[in-house]
């Protein structure tokens, strides 16, 4: 039990070292993580499926690759990817051949993906172990994971609160040590916001950095796939594994993936020194009204720490930020309304057939039954925004404003600012039910993250302390293809706060999460709703 616990507490790069020295095998590592994930899934509901058999097979294959490389000598060992033999929690909208891919929805319950997503192929190439598929808001629409058709997920810091969303399952799994690596997707903040609320690192790459082939589409012009990990080095390694041009996604960019992602400094001194002389912009529009004082305090402290390490902090303005939310909720539902049209019950997934009815009636019944309320809301919004007579006023106008939002960033980065530093979420993790009754309150969770998606640029969230005992996320936002720099900023920040008290804290309710007889997240949510 202690050995298991210790193995799961190690970071990815620490596990990789132990694999290479022979201290641990991939099978041992996988077994350790499986054990924790299976034990805690009752309390957390982070996983929709845990693939014990398949992941152990993959672990054995990794051990075989490792043994062969060891026999071939040090060069062969060095050539192995750092992800080899290490467990990954994969959001259940990534196609994994032969497995489920529900996207958190009932409408494709029972669908078995016949092919691997590009990301899946790259994980297999690296030799990673896909531990299972994680819970999420239905079709990635949500900021709390409460819109999953398969029940909410508890945040291991406080089981009565949400882990954020939509990649809530991956975030909770990584935060609770079920896996060192998680795959999420981010359309308006769905990696960064749950990373912030769960106290981990989450990176949204530049649009086009990671192929979307095989990822259930939400809003095609914004969706990106990225890592959820417990430190910057692991995020860099996972990004390195999955990034790069893929011919099957015409929007994936032919931009080289820097190998330096695998060489972020191990030394805190080196990492901290990199911050010296860097120019960070503090966008005034991101300190929004209604931001929790504890969040703002942690961000200001982090900014001071960065300044203390030699970075210069400059006040900057992104004047069109205020329009971000409104335009986002036109563009995104519009694309989603088309992307979700394929779920009609004709070829796969759930299908309602009414005897004697025509196919239109079957469509209505299938979709009425299969989609949850938030998805229906967005399909209606998007259908409306694209309708004849409204297209110009809504969709076209929103796309024009989107250009202005992008220009704001271009101007700031063009002025020599290396990255922006901002809060990730205006609040810490909130209780179940706190925002489900008010869609706009839920949408505001992403006010600080969605501009980067609208502009197609990169952003990363990393923990910067606690407020009321819950994690606060610090966000770095950079120009296109700046992932390496953003991760260097992150690594630098980790280095200068390495001694901070809060870094030693584990999620506060991990012990309760071990209790497989206690309430499930759904039961907690119901109890809170009744109270």
């Amino acid at each position: 039990m202690t050995a298991v616990r210790e193995a799961t507490r190690l970071l990815g790069h620490e596990l990789a070292t132990r694999l290479r020295t022979g201290e641990l095998s991939a099978r041992e590592i996988t077994l350790a993580h499986l054990e924790v994930a299976e034990r805690q899934n009752h309390a957390l509901n982070a996983w929709l499926v845990i693939e014990r058999e398949k992941s152990l097979d993959e672990a054995d294959a990794a051990d075989a690759r490792l043994a062969a490389a060891r026999a071939d000598g040090p060069d062969a060992l060095d050539a192995l990817h750092p992800l080899l033999g290490l467990p990954v929690a994969v959001k259940d909208l990534v196609s994994v051949a032969g497995g489920q891919c529900t996207s958190g929805s009932r409408i494709i319950d029972g669908y078995v993906a016949p092919y691997d997503a590009h990301v899946t192929e790259r994980l297999r190439d690296a030799g990673a172990v896909i531990l299972g598929k994680t819970n999420m808001d239905e079709f990635a629409m949500g900021s709390s994971n409460e819109y999953s058709a398969y029940g909410p997920v508890s945040n291991p810091w406080d089981l009565d609160t949400v882990p954020g969303g939509s990649s809530g399952g991956s975030a909770a799994a990584v935060a609770a040590y079920h896996a060192p690596f998680g795959i999420g997707t981010d359309t308006g903040g769905s990696i960064r916001q749950p990373a912030a609320l769960s106290g981990i690192v989450g990176l949204k790459p530049t649009y086009g950095r990671v192929s979307r082939y095989g990822i259930v589409a939400f809003a095609s012009s914004l969706d990106q796939i990225g890592p959820l990990t417990r430190d910057a080095r692991d995020a860099a390694a996972l990004l390195h594994a999955v990034a790069g041009r893929d011919e099957r996604d015409s929007t994936s960019a032919p931009v080289p993936v820097p190998d330096d992602l695998l060489r972020l400094p191990a030394s805190d001194d080196e990492a901290a020194a990199w911050l010296e002389g860097k120019r960070l912009g503090l966008p005034r529009e991101y300190f929004v009204e209604g931001m929790e004082p504890g969040v703002e305090a942690r961000i200001r402290e982090a900014v001071r720490a960065l300044e203390g390490a030699g970075a210069t902090i400059e006040d900057v303005s992104l004047p069109h930020t205020d329009y971000g939310l409104a335009t986002y909720y036109i563009v995104v539902p519009a694309e989603a309304s088309a992307n979700l049209a394929r779920y009609d019950g004709v070829r796969y997934g759930r299908s309602v057939r009414l005897p004697g009815a025509d196919f239109i009636a079957d469509y209505l019944a299938t979709r009425g039954d299969g989609f949850g309320p938030e998805v229906k809301r967005r399909i209606m919004l998007g259908t409306y925004a694209l309708s004849a007579g409204y297209y110009d006023a809504f969709y076209l106008k929103a796309q024009k404003v989107r250009t202005l939002i992008k220009r704001d960033f271009d101007e700031v980065f063009g002025s020599g600012i290396d990255a922006l530093v901002a809060p990730t979420s205006p609040s810490v993790a909130f209780r179940f039910g706190a925002r489900t009754a008010d869609p706009v309150a839920m949408y505001l969770s992403d006010a600080c993250t969605l501009p980067a998606n609208m502009a197609g640029i990169a952003g990363v969230s990393l923990p910067c302390g606690l407020s009321n005992g819950l994690p606060v996320g610090l966000q770095f936002i950079g120009p296109p293809w700046s992932e390496l720099e953003l991760l260097r900023f992150s690594r630098g920040y980790e280095a200068i706060t390495a001694a901070a008290e809060w870094r030693r804290l584990e999620p506060a309710q991990l012990t309760q999460a071990d209790d497989a007889t206690g309430p499930t997240p759904a039961e907690r949510a119901a109890r809170l709703a009744a109270a």
Binding site: L93, V94, S95, C101, S103, I108, Y111, A113, P114, Y115, A117, R212, Y213, G214, I215, V216, A217, A219, S220, S221, E247, R248, D249, S250, T251, A334, E335, S337, A338, L340, A341, R342, D344, V346, R347, Y348, F359, I360, Y363, T383, L386, S387, A388, Y391, Y395
Partner: protein, 497 residues
Amino acid sequence: MTTAGAARPAGAALERYEAVIGIEVHCQLRTESKMFCSCSTAYDGARPNSHVCPVCLGLPGALPVMNRRAVELVLATGAAIGASTPDATRWDRKNYFYPDLPKGYQISQYDLPLAAAGTLTFDTSEGPFTVRITRAHLEEDTAKLVHAEGPAGERISLVDFNRSGVPLMEVVSEPDVRTAEQARRYAEELQLLLRTIGASDADMEHGQLRVEANVSLRRRGTEAFGTRVEVKNMNSFRSVEHAVAFEIERQAAILDGGESLRMETRGWSDERGETYHMRSKETSDDYRYFPEPDLPPLRVDAAWLASIRGELPELPAAHRTRYRDALGLSAYDAAVLVADADAGRLFEATLAAAPGLEAKPVANWVTGDYLRIRNAAAGPVRVDPAELAALVRLVADGSLNRTSARQVLEAHAQSGEGVEAIVGRLGLRQISDTAALGAIVEDVLAANPAAVADVRAGKAQAIGFLVGQVMKATRGQANATVAQAAIRERLDAGERA
């Protein structure tokens, strides 16, 4: 709905009304793979759903990748009809639900087609006619629905996705067509053009070319458009002509009766020889077009367009003009030789096999007897160009009369035996040599003094009898013209003597 039009004399309606007809043609492009995935387009006769992949099945997570060849074929079509192409265009999603549309939207082009504002000119019985082409754009084909009966006798629909995602070009004309014949000829000429440039096999029976006509009538002398009816399900050029003709008469009858038409889509039934109501179009569909976010904008640079233009073969109109002007062919022969690829090949090969041979008789033989023989034959017919050249020469130099030549061509087409050999074997060579005929003429004149007397007395028809006797004596091999001249000459000489 009245069908009184069927009984009316064809064309009568056009005395009172002007038909305003726009034509939409969908054609499958000739590419190896589908529009947005690498599935093969060679699914004809294949098992249903055997040529499919995540992309053309619309599976979760699948993404389109553009087929560049398909774009080139539309650009080539645009160049061939003199259309303009924007420097940059894009793909749009056309959203609607139907079981044959796996994604719930069709990737198409909305306001920036690859080709815009072209023309197509063709011959009709009333002379050449030009139709303006509004646009040609590229999209993906839908799956095929097959209606069947389920195990319990219930009506079911099966979906075959082999066709799903095949590149489809839509060519939309301006409402320039005025008659049923023009409608048919437009479709025929477009088919010929597409085949000539290799853009499509354009076989109507295989659904590679689908023609829809938007037909409306307006009283002669008025400008405003009448209510439009869309006619589809026409499976041949003949049905295009018949359907449009029927629809003109049907609409005229309704208007004559003081009733108004309704916007609708009608199908054409070959069996019943009439159009029938399929669905009403009282509300216009809202397809909620928006730019396809999965595909980057498409840039068409000048060099690409220029290379496509440079690779265009001779187009049918230019081809026909060349045949008429440079080779002196009749408009009919030129049209047939350009439209019928097989006949055209034989014509060209025959001329190539015999330099200096006159083109006009070769064209006559090809468009006349060759096509008659080929079209009547059960199996493939092969005529050797060099043998056809020999045949034309024998006719030209008087060694073979037309009747015999026909017989020789038929024998050659059947067996492949050489023309000279057939002529020799059957003894068909004409005796055109006056000297060779001289002795026979002498004998015939000597043996028929009564006829000779009749000719001399001015009974012109008697000379025909004497020619007949010469033919009889030569077992048909005498050149009748030469024989007649020889008889006339001999009798004239006798008179002077």
